[in-house]
């Protein structure tokens, strides 16, 4: 399907929603409401776009977007969660709201990118928005995030150039010796941005000092879509690149080890959650490797795990302040228990999906490894909630975050609704 054919109407609507809402975000009194609504509506339109059978959008012969029902569901979830974060946390300042809208629009590009230039465009725009949001509270944190973003973008550009030169136009089906270097650089760049070990050193520091809004937007609009795209890239690698697979296996298990074990040693909730970012990236890469090796996992386990992780991380960041610890009790407890994968929260189907996916891929030892790391994750998250139960119970909970928490419960109780929504 080419841009300008019968997909033009919903696509135009999507562009219009963002184009109209960004100036309106600066309007006094209605700016915040418009922003929340625009983000949620954009999620619904993205889902509508994606509900058809698998299709690709081209422009001038170049691949732009890939539209799956699964990706549409991810877009909807991330946008709804982002809208609730904005409703509960964002100040009614035009610049902040506009940056959030830019991040939201860019996240759709990252999530549905079919080629590296589109991925890069989305990533750059989203990163700039997050840098802006972080800079509003702490410029040093924003600078650190900017350095990492620039570093990763440079490596991705280099990788993309090499792939492009070798005739690889899309992010799928990368294989053969000619793709090896470009692929390695592309994956390394994405790994740096998502905090995969050994590129993870910046994550806990930024997590412990960044603003709640900036970090939540980073989790929902940059990290999660990028992880899904990383999954799509890695799972699509054609066989014949054992060294790339080995590199990714080492990176993923190192991330899980470093993330979970370091989080276990933390007392500051922000740093603890920061290390969770590292480990969750590891699970996604491991899943992608499983799919690459077996072809029997599919996109759902990755979508569910990435969105559950991203939603929980965003809520945890939004419920805490650097140096102060928890400011909202129920949302923080919900997010940590969701990260721990306890039923009936959304983290549970995510955890079960990952373990079963490995078993289905014929890799039961990876199921056991994942289960072992899930134990560590459950222990440090539940430990925090148990030790700070009285403190958390005494903290307030804003209405949008209560709704956010209920959404996590509802998704845990009825995850099959996602499949219905996706029309898959």
């Amino acid at each position: 399907m080419h841009l300008g054919e019968n997909m033009v109407d919903p696509m135009t609507m999507l562009v219009l929603v963002y184009a109209v809402s960004i100036p309106l975000a600066f309007a006094p009194r209605i700016g915040k409401t418009v922003t929340c609504l625009a983000i949620a509506v954009a999620g619904i339109i993205a889902l509508t776009l994606s509900r058809e059978s698998i299709s690709h959008v081209y422009a001038y012969g170049l691949p732009l977007l890939e539209l799956h029902g699964e990706l549409g569901v991810a877009a909807l979830l991330l946008n709804v969660f982002l809208a609730l974060i904005v409703a509960g946390l964002a100040p009614a300042r035009g610049a902040v709201l506009a940056l959030t809208l830019v991040a939201s629009a860019s996240s759709l590009l990252i999530l549905m990118a079919d080629s590296v230039p589109v991925l890069l465009l989305g990533l750059e725009a989203a990163s700039i928005a997050v840098i802006g949001l972080l800079a509003l509270e702490d410029k040093r944190v924003a600078l650190r995030y900017a350095v990492v973003s620039l570093f990763s973008a440079s490596i991705i550009v280099l990788g993309a150039a090499i792939l492009w030169a070798n005739g690889f136009k899309t992010i799928h089906g990368l294989g053969g010796p000619e793709a090896a270097l470009g692929l390695a650089l592309l994956v390394a760049g994405v790994a740096a941005e998502t905090g995969l070990a050994p590129f993870h050193m910046w994550v806990p520091d930024v997590a412990s000092r960044g603003s709640g809004l900036g970090l939540s937007v980073a989790a929902l609009a940059v990290d999660t879509p990028l992880l899904v795209t990383l999954y799509r890239i890695v799972s699509g690698i054609e066989p014949g690149l054992p060294y790339v697979a080995t590199m990714l296996l080492v990176l993923s298990i190192a991330s899980m080890c470093v993330g979970e074990l370091s989080a276990l040693a933390q007392r500051d909730v922000r740093r603890m959650v920061g290390f969770s970012v590292v480990s969750d990236a590891g699970y996604i890469v491991l899943l992608a490797l499983g799919e690459s090796l077996s072809g029997r996992i599919g996109l759902w386990p990755a979508i569910v795990f990435a969105t559950a992780s991203g939603a929980s991380l965003a809520l945890a960041f939004a419920s805490t302040r650097p140096g102060l610890g928890p400011v909202y009790g129920l949302p923080l407890a919900t997010s940590l228990l969701c990260l721990a994968g306890l039923p009936p929260l959304y983290g549970f189907p995510a955890k079960l999906s990952v373990v079963t996916a490995f078993a289905e891929a014929g890799l039961p030892y990876l199921a056991v490894i994942a289960a072992v790391f899930f134990v560590v994750s459950a222990v440090y998250n539940v430990r925090y909630v148990v030790v700070n139960a009285a403190d958390l119970a005494s903290k307030p909970s804003p209405a949008p975050f209560i709704l956010y928490s209920f959404t996590l419960v509802a998704l845990g109780l009825a995850p099959h609704v996602l499949m219905v929504l996706g029309g898959v």
Binding site: P343, P349, L352, S353, A370, F374, V379, M419
Partner: protein, 447 residues
């Protein structure tokens, strides 16, 4: 009409969790009433099984519920223990809102677990039971609660890995003819062994039971660890014979070690705790033997979930009345505490496997069938563990209630109030009833 049981399950669960909410609000009597109603409703679902409802379709996970006699027996035994312990806790002023609601949450989780007929739903309630029991432990000691959670979470995630592998193999429900892959079977059996406190996976048990207070230990032994026995009962028919045999022998070793350790102990709660390790091993061995032995062991688990809490509650009465918990410093309590002595006698005779008391029918069925299925040596070792159990149980009762104290002169206190005695006597009656009707019930339990 096949999904009547689904309605029964939903209503029963709503009432069970409503009792938790009511307890949080401080209405303990209403909470117990709601729990009892939930129990009554649950009974309506007997021998009914729902169709499967898609839950997480991409991993082949469905929701299905059902209730057979085995589930109902476990549920009723756990409910009796819960009610007796709550009433006891109320009369001795340990029943805070948090404690009561946590105890009821343990019951509500178990009530869901016994209805679960598909693997993911079983796991969900298993996790809820872990969370509720963790809170129960953490109410007394936060550090211990976290350690307990870590231990139980290891077991949970072994079970999760096993369930993941089972789902990947197309095993959806618990009443299947599929055989689990050996790795999945081994992981699941280990998870159940941890919960049941079978040696060498028992290391959490002693520290937890002896530090959380006897009433909470009664709930752990009567409502929480019984889930391990129930899980093993459901999963062993799906396990390869090699794995089942290994766990049968592990169970025998645990039965012997636990009973001998109880015989060498002098603290009341320590004896009860080691006894749990011993009986956990016996139950695991019987369930692994399969067939009629499994039915006997499940009945034994139900009896154990009445008799062991009774012993813990008696231990609490004795400790709080006398200030002593070393059996060598106690004695002659029969003279001044006759009703408590009867309750203790029933608990001890049940644990000793004496005919007419709770554990006898299950132990007899297990030993007889295990001799046929696994061999005479196996059955003799099981019988030896019963003999060791009888030794420590009879020693405990004689030391505390019959003989004069060994270490120092001791003035026996009077009988506690009627409010304290009633729950003990209810459990006493149930232990005897379970012992008497075992011969009728066990043949109807079909593994």
């Amino acid at each position: 009409m096949a999904d009547n049981v689904l309605v029964v399950f939903i209503v029963s669960q709503l009432l069970a969790w409503l009792s938790v909410a009511v307890a949080v609000a401080g209405r303990i009597a209403v909470a117990i009433l709601s729990m009892t109603l939930s129990l009554a409703v649950a009974g309506l679902g007997l021998n009914d099984y729902s169709s499967l409802i898609p839950w997480i379709p991409w991993v082949n996970a469905y929701i299905g519920v059902g209730l057979d006699l085995a589930s109902l027996i476990i549920l009723y035994a756990a409910a009796a223990t819960t009610i007796a312990t709550l009433v006891y806790g109320k009369t001795v002023d340990i029943a805070t809102r948090a404690w009561v609601s946590t105890v009821l949450a343990c019951y509500a989780s178990l009530a869901g677990l016994v209805f679960a007929w598909t693997l993911p739903l079983f796991y969900v309630y298993w996790e809820l039971l872990v969370i509720a029991s963790t809170v129960l432990v953490a109410l007394r000691d936060r550090g211990l609660g976290i350690a307990y959670f870590a231990y139980m979470q290891v077991a949970s995630l072994l079970l999760l890995a096993a369930i993941g592998m089972a789902l990947a193999e197309g095993v959806v429900s618990l009443n299947t003819v599929h055989v689990l892959p050996p790795l999945a079977a081994a992981l699941a059996a280990t998870a159940f062994a941890v919960k049941l406190g079978v040696a060498p996976f028992h290391t959490w048990l002693l520290a937890t039971y002896t530090r959380i207070g006897e009433p909470s230990a009664a709930i752990l032994s009567g409502v929480v660890t019984v889930a391990g026995a129930y899980g093993l009962y459901r999963f062993t028919p799906m396990m390869p014979e090699s794995i089942v045999n290994v766990f049968a022998w592990i169970g025998v070793v645990s039965a012997l070690l636990g009973s001998l350790a109880a015989l060498a102990s002098n603290r009341l709660v320590e004896i009860a705790s080691y006894s749990s390790i011993g009986h956990g091993g016996f139950i695991a061995a019987g369930l692994s033997a399969g067939g009629f032995a499994a039915a006997g062991s499940l009945y034994l688990a139900a009896g154990h979930s009445l008799a062991k809490p009774l012993l813990f509650l008696v231990a609490h009465v004795v400790r709080t009345s006398t200030g002593e918990e070393d059996v060598r410093r106690l004695g002659l309590l029969l003279k001044t505490m006759p009703l408590t002595s009867i309750a203790a006698f029933t608990a001890c005779m049940s644990l000793a496997g004496v005919p007419g008391f709770a554990l006898f029918p299950g132990e007899l069925a297990t030993i007889l069938e295990a001799a046929k299925r696994i061999g005479l040596v196996f059955a003799v070792l099981l019988a030896a563990s019963v003999f060791a159990s009888a030794c420590y149980a009879i020693r405990l009762w004689l030391r505390v209630f019959w003989h004069p104290p060994v270490l120092r002169a001791f003035r026996p206190p009077g009988e506690p109030g009627a409010g304290t005695l009633i729950p003990l006597l209810i459990l006493t009656s149930l232990c005897i009833l379970v012992g008497l009707v075992g011969g009728i019930v066990i043949p109807h339990i079909i593994p």
